[in-house]
Symmetry: C2
Subunit: 167 residues, 2 copies
DNA sequence: AGTGAAAGATTTCAGGC
DNA sequence: GCCTGAAATCTTTCACT
């Protein structure tokens, strides 16, 4: 017996969906999620055509996906390069004893830093920054350096740009 | 004479860019970007109200921001936690000599990995993965381990969720 | 470049299966 | 839970400043 079924000619693993099916999450919801992740501004009529349901039904499902927190919002993707930020850097940072809070504030107060995770292990923070040039990169790092050790890398390319988890 | 140039391997229309450079990038464009980054599905009428312009003018500006590649698309934000992926991990990886390509393929072929940057410095890759539990975390790491050294961390919190560069 | 109004789509709301 | 059809709302187009 096969574990695969097909939605819009795409193979999906039905066993993986099983757990969510109990909670009322089916292959059509997955298809809706894929379409909206790719283009949040797709008209409902076109979306309903692609998933094979009427517009009102699709609207209901989208609202439910929002209500249960699977869809948390919709955002424009903005390319920093065209805004003059040609360099993307990753900064790993470990605060000195007692400097954790100051380091967080320094990171929050540096507008070039667009994302930051606190992680387990040697490094406490992994931050992502967009800068115009190497001079600005140095300026960003210098804002954090007073509060601990840092290790910075320049992003050269992105083998995976951004994609959806398996549904 | 060609009208195209390339930014991050993406073709952009340079004539549209020229218009932008001549027209500049003003505070209203910045306001539009902020609104669309926060909610890509905001009605144009509401958007025009917020930035203090008529709907057609706003539509023109949005189209221009898309044409010059500042807005690259619109996507639904999807919370992995509600889909059963309760753990987010960061994996730093350095391939063994000659294993670079195999490592990239292993990363691409691991659906739990949702983003990956190639960076300068000691680590070659920094990848982000969503997994259901520690067992799945181990399985993900084991897919990459054959091709080099890895260093994994669990994301505990995110002091900066995601924000826009300064405009 | 920006404004205001009309034409064309889209989303929402009925009611029925 | 899903569909059809109408009402309300939104987007786009166009003539004009």
């Amino acid at each position: 017996m096969s574990n695969t079924e097909y939605v819009n000619n795409k193979e999906v693993n039905s066993r993986a969906c099983l757990r969510l099916k109990e909670a009322g999450f089916d292959a059509i919801d997955a298809a809706i999620l894929r379409e909206l992740a790719a283009d949040a501004r797709i008209p409902r009529a076109e979306l309903s055509r692609r998933v094979g349901l009427s517009a009102p039904s699709v609207a209901d499902r989208v609202r439910r996906l929002e209500d249960v927190g699977i869809i948390t919002g919709y955002g424009a993707r903005i390319g920093p390069a065209r805004l003059g930020y040609g360099l993307t850097i990753l900064i790993r940072a470990r605060p000195l004893p007692g400097e954790m809070h100051n380091m967080i504030e320094a990171i929050r107060g540096t507008p070039q830093i667009v994302a930051c995770d606190r992680v387990s292990g040697d490094d406490c923070f992994v931050a992502r920054a967009h800068v115009r040039d190497v001079a600005e990169m140095e300026a960003v790092i210098d804002r954090i350096v007073p509060f601990g050790a840092t290790n910075s890398s320049v992003v050269q390319s992105s083998p995976i740009e951004e994609r959806l988890v398996e549904l």
